[in-house]
């Protein structure tokens, strides 16, 4: 079952729409969905003040799909903490898209601002444009960053990609700026474009695959050997580095476990 929400009015500032999730919409009538509150600063409005709502929601989150039409560039927190179902955003969107997401699928047919997929635990998040900073990163102070799910950005990303990552996969098809897998303790990050630097800094564990070039390598990554890897469906030879040698590492069965960096030859 699909609910189509069309944004018809732009906010003066920004809207926060953490209530736009299949979990909240499920089992509600269109009127009830229209009465869901979204906020602009300290002011609350019913969703219907800014949008028209059509279609019907499913009984459960899993069988609810939400399609967002119109211009959602100035709307934050769409799909926050969603556990199932699907959201498609047919425009750019603002911060925290798919933040703390646990399941389901969220697709953005445009660009997103920072903090998309923050502390993501499951599900699939696809951004068919660029994303800003802190993609699949941790909330401030939390040592438990992204723990599961798949986050794919078709375009470029900024800094802090997968900071404090512990699980799941991030795929960036364009370039990244700095700080990839910083403080990583697991998970996989694939960057198909170039990265300026600071890849794997302070990483305890976790893997990074880079198909382009890295301008500034961390000194703490040491070359081991060349290996053939299948990365996002394509096989190639990669130079394998381990690190960060400046960070603590656990020892499992007598073997020190490092973070791995694979740089395409």
């Amino acid at each position: 079952m699909t609910v189509t929400v069309t944004l018809t009015k732009q906010p003066e500032l920004y809207l926060e729409a953490d209530q736009i999730t299949p979990d909240v919409f499920a089992g509600k009538t269109l009127d009830e969905i229209g009465a869901i509150f979204i906020s602009e600063g300290k002011v609350k409005y019913p969703l219907s003040e800014f949008a028209t709502i059509e279609g019907a929601a499913g009984e459960t989150a899993a069988d609810t799909k939400i399609v967002l039409k119109g211009d959602w560039t100035k709307v934050k927190r769409i799909g926050q903490q969603m556990t199932a179902g699907e959201i498609v955003i047919e425009s750019d969107a603002d911060m925290y898209i798919g933040g703390w997401m646990k399941g389901g699928k969220l697709t953005v047919n445009g660009n997103v601002d920072s903090f998309c997929g923050i502390a993501m635990a499951g599900g699939e998040l696809v951004v068919n444009g660029n994303a800003q900073n802190h993609v699949g990163s941790a909330y401030r102070g939390d040592w438990r960053g992204m723990t599961g799910g798949t986050l794919r950005v078709k375009g470029n990303v900024g800094n802090d990609i997968g900071t404090f990552m512990r699980g799941g996969t991030i795929i960036v098809e364009g370039d990244a700026f700095i700080h990839v897998l910083t403080h990583g303790e697991g998970g996989t990050i694939i960057v198909k474009g170039n990265i300026e630097g600071r890849v794997g800094g302070q990483a305890v564990k976790g893997d990074v695959y880079v198909n382009g070039k890295i301008d500034f390598m961390m000194p703490g990554f040491a070359y081991v050997d060349d290996v053939e890897c299948e990365v996002d469906g394509e096989t190639a030879v990669y130079a394998h580095y381990i690190g960060d040698l400046g960070e603590r590492h656990s020892v499992v069965k007598g073997e020190t476990v490092f973070s791995n960096l694979y740089l395409k030859k």
């Binding site: 920072s114 903090f115 800003q132 900073n133 802190h134 900024g158 800094n159 802090d160």
Partner: protein, 141 residues
Amino acid sequence: MSKVIHLNMVTQRAVEEGEAMESGKTTQLYFDVCSLVEMNAEDIKELDINPNTVVKVTSECGEVIVKAVVARQTCPRGLCHIRQGVWANQVVPPRTQSTGEPQYSGFPVTIEPAPEARIVPAVELIQKACNKWNGQLLWPM
């Protein structure tokens, strides 16, 4: 055509700036100690100017007219410094890398001689940027 040099810029505190700030940002003293760009002597040479020449500094987000001087706290070649404050902030990129902190240190600029240009007083710069300039300095320096 005059020369242009590409440098990396930082903006930080200086004791002269601190003293002038406490004395008042509308003062001549503040104007004198903050509307400077400090450079390596070799970079000044490369620009083909004498020290104390007025120059235009341009960054990704704006430009400012200041006086080029040889840094007493030596900048290595390729690095230049404007003391933090009104003139520096005409060119500091506001991007924060999602930390809240602008790019005060480490942003590319170009510097070119502008001996005829006027160094604009602080209040005028601020009021113009905010569309609140009425054509006269209400706080004469």
